[in-house]
Structures are given as C-alpha cells and as structure tokens.
C-alpha cells in the first residue's frame, strides 16, 4: 500500500547540509539512517514558515534575520526525546540502595548533596531523582539540589511547570503518584511543591563546555540516553565535561544501553549489586581539578 505524506522529500544533499549545520551548532549528530526522522520533525517548521522545500529552509537557517531562534527551534524538534518518571528502575534502585548510602557517608560533614540531570528534557528524570532522595529518608535537614539542564528552552518551560499526563507516569506506582503529585485535571498531575523546590532547571548546550550553569561540582550526574545524539568526538568532549563537573568519587549514570567502551577510560566502572555505574576516581589531577 503506498504511503504518501504529500510533503516534500528531503534530498540527500539537503539532509547532509542540514545535518552538518546542526552538528556544527551543537555537536548533535543526526545519523544517516535518521533522514526520515529529520524530515518529519522539521516539516512542521517549513509549514509554519510557509516554506516549500528543505533547501529554502536550510538557507533560512543560515541567512534569515531570525536564524538564531529558528536554529534553536530546529534543534529542539530534533532532540525531543522520550522520558518518563522512574525510567530504568533497576538503575534507580541501585542508585537509591547503593550509591546514596555512599554519598551520605562522604558528605556527612557538609550535609549537602548536588545532582545534575544533564539533558533533562521535560524534567521527569530530575524530579524522579528528587523523589528518590526524599524516599531514601537519609537526608533530613540536608541541603539537597537537583539541577536539570537541556538544550531545548521549550522543554525547560514544561519542566518548570511540572505538569504531566499519563504517558509520563506510565512507570509510576500508585503510592508514589499519591505521595509526590497533585491532580490538576482529569488526566493531568503536577509535581508536589516541596519536590519542585528541590529542583532547578537551566538552559545548556552540552557541547559548550564553558557555560555550564553549575557553580560548583556535583556528587552525581544522570546523563541517560543523551550521548546517543553525539558522534564519538563530541561524546568524548561531553564526557570530559561531566568528569570535570563531578567531585572525585562522584557517580555518572548512563542509559542502560550506553557504555564508555572506546570513549573514555577516565571513569572507573563500579560493579554494584544491582547495576553497573561509572565513577570519577578518587584521586588524580585531571582537568578542572
């Protein structure tokens, strides 16, 4: 059966030009097999701007007076990714039961804990981490901060709003739903205010190592399913940045299908009972120290 969207097809050259341009801007690599995804995600932009083909759109991104904001919009469209509360529960369990006790001991004197959700999208992961900190019962009276960053300003607005529908809650148990959310509509909930108070959000392009909106180092970084958007050199740069922003002994959580093989030996692999995570070694004078 023919499947015809009635939309202009992106030629190989248009794809390459757009892909290279986006890569130069933010280090995000759209793989060759994702031409269709690029075409589908950018088509609404052509429609909104009244453009008829992708060459014209490319020139718009390059040469129009609104090019900067349109480029951000295009990157937002290309990087919108799947996220929901309590995603990858095995890792979260290991984090709660094995990592948090270590961090509690390490930071007992400062009674301060800082966690970065890098590439936080619409905020589900950052709020999940905050909920895990509360759930652990270990940090009563501590200064707890979870900071979420993303390249998309639009998703950050959604993250700050903290309102979600059923799709975002498909892995959230009924008791957690009752404990950490309030209903704001028939199909909508909002993250409870005390959880939201622990979490802040900011705009950051991970490629831009000089503008991390985090003044001091963090005890753990969640960067799950974000590296997939970068090619190997960009991944190495991002990992270097994460290394620099972690305290020695701080933990790095990647997505369950991600690893650092052939990318970085800066981190050590930590075999927890329930999962594998990475850690910045205790010693060493690597960049940023």
């Amino acid at each position: 059966m023919p499947f015809d969207t009635g939309r202009p097809e992106m030629t190989a050259e248009e794809f390459r030009l757009l892909r290279d341009f986006v890569y130069a801007y933010c280090g995000i690599l759209v793989r060759d097999d994702m031409k269709y995804v690029m075409e589908r995600r950018l088509w609404p932009r052509l429609e909104a701007l009244g453009l008829t083909d992708f060459s014209t759109y490319y020139r718009y991104l390059r040469f129009d007076a609104q090019r900067r904001s349109e480029l951000e919009t295009a990157v937002e469209a290309l990087t919108t990714h799947e996220t929901y509360f309590f995603r990858e529960p095995r890792q979260l369990k290991a984090f709660s039961e094995e990592v948090l006790p270590v961090l509690e001991r390490r930071n007992a004197r400062s009674r301060r804990l800082r966690i970065w959700s890098a590439g936080c999208s619409s905020g589900e992961e950052a709020y999940t981490v905050a909920m895990l900190l509360l759930e652990s019962g270990r940090f009563e009276g501590w200064e707890l901060e979870v900071h979420g960053t993303d390249i998309s300003r639009r998703v950050l607005n959604a993250a700050r709003l903290g309102e979600y529908g059923p799709s975002a809650l498909r892995s959230t148990s009924a008791d957690k739903l009752a404990r950490y959310f309030v209903h704001v509509g028939p199909n909508r909930v909002r993250v409870r205010d005390d959880v939201r108070a622990m979490v802040s959000f900011g705009h950051h392009n991970l490629r831009d190592v000089d503008s991390v909106p985090l003044a001091s180092r963090v005890d753990a970084v969640f960067c799950r399913n974000v590296l997939i958007y970068f090619d190997a050199p960009a991944r190495q740069r991002v990992l270097r940045l994460l290394y620099d922003k972690l305290v020695p002994g701080g933990y790095l959580m990647l997505g369950h299908s991600e690893n650092l093989i052939n990318l970085s030996a800066d981190f050590e692999l930590v075999h927890l009972r329930g999962d594998l995570v990475y850690r910045r070694p205790e010693m060493g004078g690597g960049g940023g120290t």
């Binding site: 994702m34 995804v37 007076a65 010693m283 690597g286």
Partner: protein
Amino acid sequence: MSEEGRNAEEVRYRALLDLDVSRPEAREELVTGLHDESWRVRRAAAEGLVRLPERGAVVERLIAVLGERDETGARNAAAESLAGMGASAVQPLVHLLGHADPDLRKFAADILGQLALPEAEGALVAVLLEDGDLNVRVAAAEALGRVGGRGAAFALERVLSNPEPLLRLSALESLAALRHPPPLADVVPLLNNPLLKRSAYRVLGLIERTEVVALVCRGLAASESRSTREAALVALGQHSARMADGARPAMYAAVGEALRRLLGAVSWVTSALESGDIEVKTGALVAAAALREPRLAPLVAEVAQEERLVPEVMRTLACFGPETGRELLASMDRLSFPAREAAGQVLVDMVDESFVPELVQMLDWGEVDLKGVAARALGRTGALEAVEPLAGFLSNPELAGVAARALVALSAGFRAQVLQVLQTSLEQGAQPVVLNALVRVGGTAQLPLVRRIAREASVPLRATAVEVLAAVDPSGGLELARVALVDEAPRVRAAAVRVLGQVGDVSLAPLLQRALSDDALEVRLAALEAVGECGAVALAEDLEALVRHPDGAIAFRAVRSLARLGVLRDEVIQHAVAHEDHEVVKAALLAGAASGGGEALALGLLGHAHWDVRAAAARVLADSREERLLPPLMNALLSETDALARRALVDAVERLSGR
C-alpha cells in the same frame, strides 16, 4: 580494589595520559603500560602508542607484544592499539598472517578486520580458503565481512558448502554484513540447520527472487520452532525493506495466510513487536501489516521508539485501515512520545466526522503535541462541530498555526462560521497567523479590518497586516508599506521593505537605499532581497560593496540580488567565489552559469574545499552538454572522496557521455 590501590592506579593512569610522546623513552614506558594490571592504564597506554610519531617501529613493537603468550591483557591492549594504527599496520599484519603460531595468525586476522582496509582483502581471502587452522579461517571470514570487496564476497560464498558449521556461520554473517546475496540454491539447504538458520534467513532476505516470500512463509508457519519463525521474520523485514510498494499487497496476502495457519499468531506477533532485536521487530511490522489486527496498532506505534524503523511503522499503520483510528486515539495519551508522533500522523489521515467528540476531548486534556494532532485531525473531519473548539487555540502561540490551518481547511464547507471565529479571535488579540487565515478565507472584504490592525495592533500583528494587505491589494499595500517604513519596530519596517520588493518598482530605489543602512539587520537583509525583486538597478553599486561582507547572510543576498538584476559582473563573481561561506560561492556559481562563462567558473570550483560546491560545479558542467568537459570531470572523479560530490560527478560524466 582498596582505596590505596585505586589511588595508585589513578596516578599511573594520569601519568600515561600526561606523557610527553616526543621523548625517546615514551615508547617503552607506554609498552610497560600495556602490561599494567588495570584496564584503564592499559587503555591509556594503547591510545598513547597510537599518538607516537614513528608508526612503523611502534607497529613492530606491538606485534612483538602480541607474541607474549602469558600476557593476555597486554596482548589485547596491543591489538587495540594496532587497530588504531591505520594503513601503516596492514602490511606487517598481513605478514603475521603467515606466522607459524595459529594464535598470532588469528590475532592478525582479527585486527585486519578492525582496520577494515581493502588492502588486506587478498591476504584474508587466501587465509580463509587455505589456512590449516579452523579458528584462523573463522577469524578471516569475520574480518572479510568488514573489509569487503568482490573477492571477499565470492570467497565467503565458496565456504558456504564447507563441512565446518562454524565456518559456514561466520561466512553467512559476513555476507549479511556485506549485504551480498549468495545464490539461493546455496542458502536453502542451510535454512533447516539449527545452528545456521538464523544467519541463513538473514541472507535469504537479501536475495531478490520471488521464491523468497514462499520460503519465508514456510518458516513463519513452522509450528515447532519459535527461533525458526523469528529467523523468518528477520528475512521478511529485510526483503520488505527493498520491495516496491506495488508488490506489497501480494506479499501481505501470502504472509497473512501463513500466519493464520499458526495458532496464536496475534500474540506471537505481539511479542515479536516487543522484541529487543531490531531485525525481528522489522519483520514483525510486516507481519502486523499482513494481519491487520487493530489491537496491534498501539504496539506497532511503539516500535517508532526505534527511530530508523519509523517509515516502516508509518507504512504499517497506514495498512491497518480506518477502523484502527479509534484504537490509536484511545491509547494516545499512554503512548511514548515517538509512538504518539507516528500514530498522530497516521490518525490525521484516518479521521472522519464521527471522530469529532474524541478529538475535541483530546484538545481539552492533551499535552501540546497531542493537542496539535487533535487540531490537525479536526481540520480533516469536515465537520461544523470542529470549528468552535479550534477557535479556542487561535491565541495560543504554540497551537495557533495549526488551528488556523485547520480552520482554513474547514472553511471549504463552513465559510461564514470560520470567518466569524477568526474575526472574533482577532478582536481578542489572536496570533498573526490568524490574520493570514482570515484574508485567505474572507478575501478583499476583510481589508478594512486589516488596515485597522496595521495601524493599531501589536508589533507582530502590524507587521503581518502590512504584508497581508499587499498580497490582496497591491496598491493599498504599497501605500501602507511607505508609512510602515518609519515604524519604530524593526519587524514592521522589515515587513514594509519586503512589500516594497514584492509590489514596488525601480522608483522605490531611494527608499530601499535608506533601508540598506537601517540599524536593524532584519531590515537590511529584507532590503537586500527587495532591491533584486523590484529591479532597482541603481543600487547595484551598493550591493557590489556588500558581496565582500564577512557575514554570509549579507554577501549571499547581495549576490542573489545582483544576479536577479542581471548586473553581476565577472569581477564581483570572482570576489564571491573567494568568500568563506560556501553558500555564497554556490550562489555566485549558479549566477555565473546562468549568465554565461559558467563553465570556466565551474571547472575552477571542481577542486573547492567544500563538497557541495564541488557537487554544484559538477551539475553546472553537466548542464552545459559539452562533451569536451568530460576529461576534467573524469579527473575530478578520480580524486573525489566525498560520496555526494562523487555521485554528482558520476551523473555529470554519464550525462555528457550520453550514457
């Protein structure tokens, strides 16, 4: 590892990272690092050796480490390092393929596979066909799957009849990796072999013969083995990916018949759709399209989480037919984001009048993306009841565009009602797109309202009004644009300048000259375009000066406008082709080609640093139809390494040589 041990490891690791590779002792220090107990230190050593300048000597030293039988970690690290050495490692490793120790020969084959350089093909083929050790032959077969080449493919075909199943298995896998279809007769006997059938079905999927569908169906209907069915699914997915749309109905019919003979086919396809194996998933999509079971639709949509499968997901959902629309609609808010995207697009094509209540509900509670789907779909229902709910989104910046377009679609049946909601929402401060929609639906009767908005409304609405008015009433629009040229908002001035370009003439040159030096870049860029559009030749000199501007946006528009005016001088073209921005160069090339003298320009640009300039130059030369240009094109083809530029050159050569 103790805390102390970890610290010592970190010190050794950092020391190797910071090692000065230009020091003469660096090589042996790194080789010592290859023998470290820590994998991190070994990795740092392996990477450090790749950075050393004397590659030949380093390769020899690494090959010596490969021979240290009791040093497993060091040997593996040396292999990793050799795999990073590129072409300089090929010949020494080819030499190692002749070593007496089969263990070293296997190492050599493995590393040559990782290097994946065609220079190793011949030696690996010889090892595959002649080596006395099975493990070495298997390693060669696997390596050839990465090295590739015609010789590799034919050699791999030859071992498909070898009595050693392991060798046949690696040959099948490599043929699959090379996407080289072996003869069908060689593959059919392997389809029943438990060890080989998965790989055999994979290559079966590469074979373009009509018999393949029947063989796949036989595998799908195999009641005794889930693994056989999954292997058949893999072949089905591969076969389908290459299939023309016209041939699909026959394939779906055959597959559907085979599946219906299978007890519990729907639940089996369900689990295949949820498989972690992307190849099984691909085949499961085809099976789902053949079954057309509406319950499968949400699961099919979820496969869109695998981005490369999105086209197949869309194709599959489109096969299901309209009855699936409600199934998708009901599950929409529980689907993952990629699934919603795919399902939403298909849903929009499926809706009719009866969907309005559910879609209106979705407009109420959905997240922004779902609301967008609902709005688009409502526009396709052709129902009066869709008008009012859409009106509620005309002041929402994220949804106004899609709601306005949906209303324009609905105006085909309900013009008066649509006009009413558009007018009302404009009174209440709607988004600029609504103004466009209003004029599109209401025509010139709306001009008084547009004029009023152009005087009184917000900046975005004022700017839009200026352009909208000119589109329906050129003389009135021009008059308004003159006034808008002194608006305090750059956005309004830019809109006015665009109008001058679109409906004005050369007499407006003084106004445009002023706009060319406006404080706002937005206005200057609009003026550059407008000069060319309205034929203001008097401003050619101003434009020529801007061709050298370092900002590509300015230079690009200056070149295009000069070309449009027909006054792009050769000297200016030469400045443009020297511009840093490759789009400026291409604009000059295309303008030069249109004005004659383009051949010399294109010939000169066949060696440009940017691939798309070279591709554009090839196209310009192809358009010339001059056979004498073949030799330089052939020369360029010989040295072209970029795939797209190469394709353009091949096309050009074929066109000029009449092939």
